[in-house]
Amino acid sequence: MGLLDLFRRQPPSAQVAKERLRIIVAQERSARGGPDYLPLLRRELLEVIRKYVNVDPEAVIINLERDQGQEVLELSVALPEKVRGGKTAAAAKA
C-alpha cells in the first residue's frame, strides 16, 4: 500500500468476500438435510407473493429449524421500501 492509497480507500475486498460467504454458507447449511421440496416451495411462494407485491427474489428467506423433535418452518419476506417503511416478517409454523 503506497501513500496515495490512503486517500482513496475502499472497503477491503477480502471483507466483502467474507461477508458474502458467511451469508451463503449459512443459507446453504440450513437447507442441507432438509426436505427436497424447500427450493420449490420457495419459488412458488415467491410467485404468489409477486402477484401482490413486487418483491426481490432474494427477499424471500425460508428457514427450517429443528428443535427437540419439533420442526419450525420460518418464512421471512422483506417488502420493498416504497410499499412500507422497513422490513416485514411473517412466520408460519409447519
Binding site: G2, A17, K18
Partner: protein, 270 residues
C-alpha cells in the same frame, strides 16, 4: 491400525494432488508405511506429480476387476522405501469404481500393514469423489482463500457429515481438517485476500496447514518431485508442519504474516 485420509475440496485446481503427494511423502519420510491412491478415474495425474508415470503397468481399476494383484499394481517410490502409489485408470467408463471394489482394496491395504492410505479425490461431487471419501477416517479439505473454493468445500463438509460410512453407521464422524493453499500473506495484509482466521471462521474447521503461494509448486510438478522434498522451499516447510500436525504434534503456523518491509518500501508501495 490403518488410517484412511481423503484429500478433497469440491473445486478443481486448488491443490489436492499436490497435497496428496506431499503429505504422503511427508508421512513416509517419518517411517510410516503409506499408500496414496488416485481416485480421478479417466484423468490420471498423481503419477506425474509423484514422478512415476512411466512405471504404471496396472492401475486401481485393474485391481478392482481382478486383472492383477494389488502388489502388482502398487508402484514403490524410488525415493522413499515405505511409500507406494496406486494410479488411476485412464478408462472412460464412469462406473469402473464400485463401493465393494474400493472396500476390498482398502481392506487388503489394512491387512498388509499400511499405516496410512491417502485417497486423492477428483474434483466435483460425482461418484469418484464420493468413493474417495466414503471409507475415510479423516479428511483434509484443501481450500484456496477465494469465494468459490470456500463455498464448494462447505458443500464437501456437508457430504462428509452425511455420505460416508462413518456417518451412515452412526458411529462417529470423519475428522475434518482445513488446509489452505496458494496463501499470499502480502495480499491478506492488503485486505485483498481472506486470511486464515476468516476461512476458519466461515467453515468452522481446525487448520492443519497453510501453504503459501509459490513458484516452487510448478517447478516441483515439472520435475515430478513432490514439493515437500524441495527442502529449501517454504512450501515444503509448510507441508512438513502439516504432516506434524496430522501426527498430533503442536506446531505454530508459519508463513501467514507478511515479511517485514522497510519504511520507504511501505511509503511508496511496490
Amino acid at each position: 491400525m490403518t488410517e484412511i485420509i481423503v484429500v478433497t475440496s469440491g473445486k478443481g485446481g486448488v491443490g489436492k494432488t499436490t497435497t496428496s503427494a506431499s503429505i504422503a511423502c511427508g508421512l513416509a519420510s517419518r517411517g510410516k508405511k503409506v499408500a496414496v491412491i488416485d481416485f480421478d478415474i479417466g484423468l490420471r495425474n498423481l503419477d506425474l506429480i509423484m514422478g512415476c508415470e512411466r512405471r504404471v503397468v496396472y492401475d486401481f481399476v485393474n485391481v478392482i476387476n481382478g486383472e492383477c494383484t494389488l502388489k502388482q499394481a502398487l508402484i514403490k517410490d524410488k525415493r522413499l522405501d515405505t511409500l507406494f502409489v496406486l494410479a488411476a485408470s485412464q478408462t472412460r467408463d464412469k462406473d469402473a469404481l464400485s463401493t465393494e471394489g474400493v472396500e476390498r482394496v482398502l481392506n487388503e491395504l489394512r491387512a498388509d500393514g499400511f499405516d496410512y492410505v491417502l485417497c486423492d479425490s477428483p474434483a466435483g461431487i460425482e461418484k469418484g469423489a464420493h468413493l474417495a471419501m466414503y471409507f475415510a477416517d479423516r479428511a483434509i479439505v484443501v481450500v484456496n482463500p477465494e469465494v468459490s473454493s470456500v463455498r464448494d468445500s462447505d458443500r464437501i463438509l456437508g457430504l462428509l457429515a452425511s455420505k460416508t460410512k462413518l456417518a451412515e453407521g452412526g458411529n462417529g464422524r470423519v475428522q475434518e481438517h482445513l488446509l489452505l493453499t496458494r496463501y499470499s500473506p502480502r495480499r491478506v495484509a492488503a485486505g485483498e485476500m481472506m486470511g486464515v482466521d476468516d476461512v476458519k471462521e466461515i467453515l468452522g474447521l481446525d487448520v492443519v496447514g497453510v501453504v503459501p503461494e509459490s513458484t516452487d509448486v510448478l517447478s516441483a510438478s515439472n520435475a515430478g518431485t513432490p514439493v515437500i522434498l524441495h527442502e529449501d522451499s517454504d512450501v515444503a516447510r509448510a507441508y512438513q508442519d502439516a504432516v506434524a500436525r496430522l501426527l498430533g504434534e503442536t506446531v505454530p503456523l508459519r508463513f501467514i504474516d507478511e515479511p517485514k518491509r522497510g519504511f520507504f518500501a511501505r511509503l511508496f508501495g511496490g
